[in-house]
Symmetry: C2
Subunit: 407 residues, 2 copies
């Protein structure tokens, strides 16, 4: 089955950010899969370090502005979910994914050239999740898409999804916020704040002015390592790594080793983290990491309203909230609270909980669990065959246990 | 009530570390409270960044070797538990606490003067929890203490306690490992490894040779901030900080701020972390932090044996394992597994679970929960009045739930 793929970037002209600052020309890089029939558009929102390249292999870009090429979790990041015949079927839907402002995959952000031809760096205006939504709205206008059949996305991309229902409630029929929450909890705020300090503490960061020189690879690598711990669970780390020694010594490329380390095993889990850090710093921009984590930390669905439910009051579509039991970045409890807000707002909602010990990564690595309910929801709404809801299994509810010993 | 306090340091002569390296003279700083009657000695083992100053205020030291003075969690760190009339009653017991080798409160470690009069730095031999136990044994010999009534300690100090039961099973009557485990899980190994990389990545670390110059304050501060997240729980962070903004701007002293940060609130949780980092780097040595986290990560009760139970087989005393439901650094599940090992080894054991949302910090900040069972255990063993055991409440056991939605 062949599906048309439109990969490009649009210059959307002057853009005023929520912070009040403007740039003369917001460029937005996007990919669009399939044919638009006037009523079948699905917007997919990417996660923190994702890109517009939601599906399809082999695509690589390196912008004229020096932005990094996609790789790792940025390349074809939901290829098992989005494509011809897949859960988000590009033979049926016109699927659009856009790189968010502040990122580094072709959409305007800190590494992009500013008016003077030099990279903006930290002169780029602070961005918010609301700016992402507004930029997507402008892009869709430019593409000729009015009302969306659905908006779908995971992690901070799920916050982006929620912002659509709040900001443009008439523009979207169905939303699927996956592995997300109405706002981050303070534990995650803390880890994001530490990750940013790791970047700004790297002397190569140089207050954000490192383009053309040596980027803050170690600081960004540390930030990414903290992120990886947030994406996994105790159970998944036990299974993947245990306490096993890696079959080699400390690599010592990404980070200097302390001499005492030579006496102790270099463990699998360290080897994994060091490998992930090295890969990541080749594909992502440190300033973009600062900007996008600020946007995530700042997002609060209830902002400007009395409550989450009030923020969703104007939304008349349906919602599929999906969460994963082993996810401590965005917990099932937060997802249940979000589903309760939709119920309070009289929006048809299902909270579909997937039993998984993969941690936050589950939404990326368990397509067999994510695909069926998502596919049926896009087709039939919350009544879809594979969609289950927590309210259907009332007996399992109980006060939250910290562990089997509590209470 | 007055209690004699003996604060000092002993030169214990040549010491061979488990790594095989020796130093000519191991100095051990200690405090001893109360009177030794031949049968009432209680050894208290301190946690990662603790000191010998387990109780009693007002004590400050700054060694001639340039080691930092105690402060924060190092000063009188269990003052609510240890003292005249308290749970570990210094009017009744002769309580000894010694700073561990590798630390920076007067016992030989990286900041101490080596044979050439210069600080060892990273030439100091790698240390293990076993080295701590062996140094404590030597110190107690020097103090004239043979068999101990009890060994008590929390966190990695609890691993130190376990090592006593394994290494010197005939030398101790009762042990109380608190908020600890037979070994760290890979999630904690990962966070410790990232913390070490934050230190070694700080250019001021200079491969450990920073004495007399500027120490790696930012790297050590980041390491400490990661630690603080491990010591708290989601619930305690929600209660302490929520998403509230601090009443001031980013301080910018400890870490450089990124310009975009000015648009977003500087949150209470960040302010707390920055404050804790600044306090910590004044009192702790960065190389010691590397050494002691290596020791903690490396500890494995079963090492050299077939199982945890086999490692404990020779221990004929009693054990009180204490854990806290909100602790994700050392979980109640790990504590239950440890208690099971004692049961398998036919050692009388009680696993006393304290319902708390304080996280790992609970063992320090909930003396009202920790004190009574500990006091009764010291007096009467596992049959002590306030001691409860998980086996007494069998009906509550169930498969571990990741959350209320799993299973």
């Amino acid at each position: 089955m062949t599906v048309t793929i439109d990969r490009g970037a649009r210059s959307l002209g002057e853009f005023r950010f929520e912070c009040g600052e403007t740039i003369d020309d917001l460029e937005v890089a996007y990919e669009a899969y399939g044919e638009f029939d006037g009523d079948n558009a699905v917007l997919v929102c990417h996660a923190l370090t994702g890109s517009q390249n939601v599906a399809g292999g082999g695509f690589r870009s390196r912008g004229a502005d020096g932005s990094a090429g996609t790789a790792g979790q940025a390349r074809a990041w939901w290829n098992d979910i989005v494509g011809p015949g897949k859960a988000v079927d590009t033979a049926e839907y016109y699927v659009v994914c856009a790189n968010v402002p502040g990122s580094c995959y072709g959409t305007s952000g800190p590494p992009s050239a500013g008016p003077d031809g030099e990279p903006y760096g930290t002169d780029f205006p602070p961005v918010t999740v609301g700016d992402w939504t507004r930029a997507q709205r402008r892009l869709l206008d430019d593409l000729g898409v009015g009302r969306l059949h659905a908006v779908v996305g995971g992690s901070v991309g799920g916050m982006n999804v929620l912002d659509w229902a709040k900001r443009y409630p008439d523009d979207v029929r169905r939303i699927a916020p996956v592995a997300t929450a109405a706002r981050l909890d303070p534990q995650c705020l803390a880890l994001d704040a530490i990750a940013r300090r790791a970047i700004t503490t790297d002397p190569n960061w140089n207050r954000g002015d490192y383009y053309g020189g040596e980027p803050p690879r170690r600081g960004l690598g540390l930030a990414r390592q903290i992120g990886h711990v947030m994406y996994l669970s105790k159970d998944s780390m036990e299974r993947k790594f245990g306490r096993r020694a890696a079959g080699r010594d400390f690599a010592g490329d990404a980070f200097p080793a302390d001499p005492a380390a030579a006496f102790f095993p270099y463990r699998d889990v360290e080897s994994y983290l060091d490998y992930q850090a090295e890969k990541f710093v080749d594909r992502f921009d440190a300033n973009s990491y600062l900007y996008l984590t600020h946007a995530m930390d700042d997002y609060d669905l209830a902002e400007g309203y009395e409550s989450d439910a009030a923020a969703l009051a104007a939304f008349e579509g349906e919602a599929l909230v999906m969460s994963f039991t082993g996810d401590w970045h965005f917990t099932t409890e937060q997802a249940e609270s979000l589903a309760a807000a939709f119920r309070e707002a009289d929006a048809p909602v299902a909270h579909h909980v997937i039993d998984s010990d993969h941690g936050h990564d589950a939404f990326l690595v368990e397509p067999e669990s994510v695909g069926p309910p998502l596919s049926d929801f896009l087709a039939d709404g919350v009544g879809g065959r594979a969609v289950t809801d927590t309210t259907e299994r009332e007996p399992e509810f109980a006060p939250v246990h910290n562990s089997l010993f509590s209470g």
